[in-house]
Amino acid sequence: MGFVRLVVFGFVGLSILYLCISVYSRSVRREKLEKAWDEENVGSDDLAARNAYVEKGIAAYNNSFRPKLIGLVYVIPTVIVMVIVYTTNTN
């Protein structure tokens, strides 16, 4: 019963963490793209082109390998728990 509770609450908690980190990571990427565009086109106020550039960059990010690394949020705690279970219960 305790194990089921650990799995359920662990999954919920890690999912919240996963969502937060993916939103954060995308936000940082978006800010970087915006700044890059602003640096290359100083004084321009072509908002459509700027948006297109940023959206393209975000789409490229979504298809890249980096966002999949955030899945480690689920893997690492599971591995840590398994290691602790093993080390505590062997003598």
């Binding site: 650990l6 954060y24 940082v28 602790i84 219960n89």
Partner: protein, 223 residues
């Protein structure tokens, strides 16, 4: 206000520190003298300082508790400075199970057998434990592991705690960065636009007021 803030911070920091001191593993150099089992009737107060019944067993209001009696080397500074004096220390030996604190300990019986075997000889051992010994409330630290020693003069390096605090600092910095980013990108623009709207609204009000006073002014006697 400033003083209140500082007081609040000191209290929060102290509570957090005590919590970590209770939960994180510590190492004691001990001579195990005997092992025993006593029946325990928990009170509402000291219940939270005990774990649950053995993993897989049912919870009852009263149960047996495994204890490990030892002579422990005294230390200063949370165990960082060893001393020559010894004192008695009693550890409980309970399964922590799957939930809290996350030691995932299921081998209490094995640990008890190990301790009994160490108690037969006269050798020193390191006991890894968490928790406090509080005499007036009958609270014991929970033993996690026993390791035999050749001599009592050892320096145990707390690897787990080193990694834990490293990870804690990284986590806090990361959370802070996340919060700053969220504030910069999501909350500040909202506040800005709200301020704009407020400015527009107050400008409208000023204009309307101007219109009304102007209209009222038409009723005033012309001098």
């Amino acid at each position: 206000m400033h003083r209140l803030k500082i007081t609040f911070r000191v209290i929060a920091f102290t509570v957090f520190g005590l919590f970590l001191h209770y939960v994180l593993p510590q190492h004691d150099v001990v001579k195990i003298t005997s092992t025993e089992i006593i029946r325990t009737d928990f009170s509402g107060f000291n219940r939270i300082f005990y774990a649950q019944a053995d993993s897989g067993a049912v919870e009852q209001p009263t149960r047996d508790l495994r204890l490990i009696n030892t002579d422990k080397k005294k230390t200063f500074l949370l165990g960082f400075m060893p001393r020559d004096k010894t004192e008695v220390m009693v550890y409980r030996n309970e399964d922590t199970g799957w939930i809290w604190p996350p030691y995932f300990k299921f081998d209490s019986s094995d640990l008890q057998a190990e301790s009994a075997s160490v108690a037969r000889g006269d050798s020193w051992a390191v006991i890894t434990h968490y928790g406090w010994r509080v005499r007036w409330a009958s609270i014991y630290p929970n033993a996690i592991a026993v390791k035999l020693l050749d001599s009592p003069d050892v320096r145990v390096i707390p690897w787990f705690n080193i990694f834990f605090f490293g990870f804690l600092i990284v986590g806090i910095v990361f959370l802070r960065a996340m919060w700053m980013q969220f504030r910069e990108r999501s909350i500040d623009p909202l506040i800005d636009s709200a301020e704009d709207r407020f400015d527009e609204a107050s400008a409208d009000i000023a204009e309307q007021k101007g219109r009304v006073t102007r209209w009222l002014g038409t009723w005033k006697k012309k001098s």
